[in-house]
């Protein structure tokens, strides 16, 4: 049990996917203009990451390892994730347009999202069991969502403050994320500052 807790804590805080592993930056800067879209995005990421880590674990243990064709790991994982995302998007678009309005439009964004593939690879390389893999997926998604929400909150305030002309917009966002990652890395990790 305590192993699960350790995984959860480390995935959300200590080696948070976005701040220490640089995964999922494109959507972070693309979508974090306002908190509403950031919320939609993080929910979608958590949902897909859990499904992805579960299905890739199954494929890895029951198809790749017995046939020991582990070198096909990258191609099969990304194929699975792309199909999964497209399938979920179609289902949500058909069955609940309101949910699709708020959540679904971010789903296609997730196929090219490094965070999903990164989390899956990390959990496979970490040698997690099925349950640990899913917990890692959820907590990595929550970690990503948390950073996204913090960022969107900050960026909304940044809009109002007057910033140097050339640093407007994304460069300033980078610097804020830099400060954020100092907090995360040094507060939880042990950064020899």
């Amino acid at each position: 049990m305590e192993n699960i807790l350790a995984i959860m804590l480390s995935a959300i805080f200590i080696n948070n996917l976005v701040l220490t592993k640089f995964l999922g930056l494109c959507p972070l800067f693309g979508v974090s203009k306002d908190t509403k879209s950031a919320m939609g995005m993080s929910l979608a990421v958590i949902f897909v990451m859990t499904l992805a880590s579960a299905s890739t674990w199954l494929i890895y243990t029951y198809m790749l390892t017995p046939l020991n064709i582990r070198f096909l790991q990258t191609i099969s994982f990304i194929l699975l994730i792309a199909t999964l995302v497209q399938l979920i998007e179609l289902i949500i678009r058909k069955h609940s347009p309101p949910l699709y309005r708020s959540l679904g439009i971010y789903l296609p964004l997730i196929t090219t999202n490094c965070a999903i593939m990164g989390a899956v690879l990390l959990s496979i390389r970490g040698g997690y069991s099925f349950v640990e893999g899913i917990v890692f997926g959820i907590s990595a998604g929550v970690g990503f969502g948390m950073v996204l929400l913090i960022m969107s909150g900050i960026r909304e305030r940044l809009e109002l403050s007057d910033t140097p002309k050339s640093l407007e917009g994304v460069p300033l966002a980078f610097i804020t994320v830099g400060i954020l990652s100092i907090i995360f890395v040094s507060f939880f990790g042990r950064i020899p500052l």
Binding site: T83, I105, S161
Partner: protein, 266 residues
């Protein structure tokens, strides 16, 4: 050569590919949703990487908003000009030469409007509007802090020396992003072929307007009497030109004592 390994890998992955494509084809058929055909066509042109650079979370969303007229055609960074051109043709809004719609500022005050108090809060229209305005005596007029300038994705708006936003008609595609941003609501998108406009939105009494602004509309009715096609009416102390009736003859422009009715060149 462990040929067994090669066969296994081919069969395994082909099976996976088979299942994935079969599921997707089946799902595409089963969950088909009727959408505006133009959205599909626009989606064809867009890169489909949903990178979010246009500020919208996904290409599908951007295509929908562009077709619905809520988003400008040229916003796709990754697609560059070719995507913008093609989108323009599909949506009938052309980017390069004159589009059918362009933005217009209905205020000509700027430095010609006196200040009532000194405001040194955040230099943004949205923030100033929260307080009470930018210290200008006229509460309807433009504060000139350039929210519209920042909101315009194509950089068509710039603030001139009089502290008023100027719309560059060559660049503007009438996407009305600036209209949503302006807290005073004095930016409107009108069709390009209408020339004569009242550059004021103040509903104050004429006497007050005269005392605070050199170019405000004082509701003196001279233009109404002068207009041959009765296109002008006074609504709540402000002259309003009815674009259907107006023939751009320009008589009201000369007659207006305050010079706040302007006819655009070109």
């Amino acid at each position: 050569m462990t040929d067994g390994l090669i066969i296994d890998s081919i069969i395994a992955l082909s099976a996976l590919g088979l299942i994935c494509s079969a599921v997707l084809v089946w799902a595409a058929k089963k969950f088909a949703v009727m959408t505006d055909p133009r959205v599909e066509k626009v989606l064809e042109v867009l890169p489909g990487t949903n990178c979010g650079a246009c500020g919208l979370p996904s290409c599908y969303e951007y295509a929908e908003q562009a077709v619905g007229g809520k988003a400008a055609a040229g916003l796709c960074v990754l697609g560059g000009e070719e995507a913008a051109e093609k989108m323009g043709n599909i949506l009938g809004v052309s980017i390069g030469e004159m589009g059918r719609r362009v933005a217009l500022l209905q205020c000509n005050g700027g430095i010609r409007c006196d200040d009532k108090f000194q405001y040194d809060g955040v230099k943004s229209c949205r923030a100033a509007a929260l307080v009470r305005g930018s210290g200008k005596a006229c509460i309807y007029g433009c504060m000139g802090y350039g929210d519209c300038m920042r909101a315009c994705p194509l950089g068509a708006i710039s603030i001139d020396k009089d502290g008023l936003p100027v719309v560059d008609e060559q660049v503007c595609v009438g996407c009305d992003l600036c209209v949503d941003v302006c807290p005073k609501g004095i930016l409107t998108v009108i069709s390009r072929d209408k020339k004569t406009h009242v550059l004021c939105s103040s509903h104050d009494k004429g006497k007050y307007v005269k005392s605070i602004c050199e170019v405000g509309c004082i509701g003196c009715n001279i233009c109404i009497k002068a207009c041959p096609s009765e296109a002008i009416t006074i609504k709540d102390n402000l002259a309003v030109i009815d674009s259907e009736l107006c023939t751009d003859c320009g008589i009201c422009v000369e007659k207006c004592p305050m010079k706040c009715i302007k006819s655009k060149g070109g």
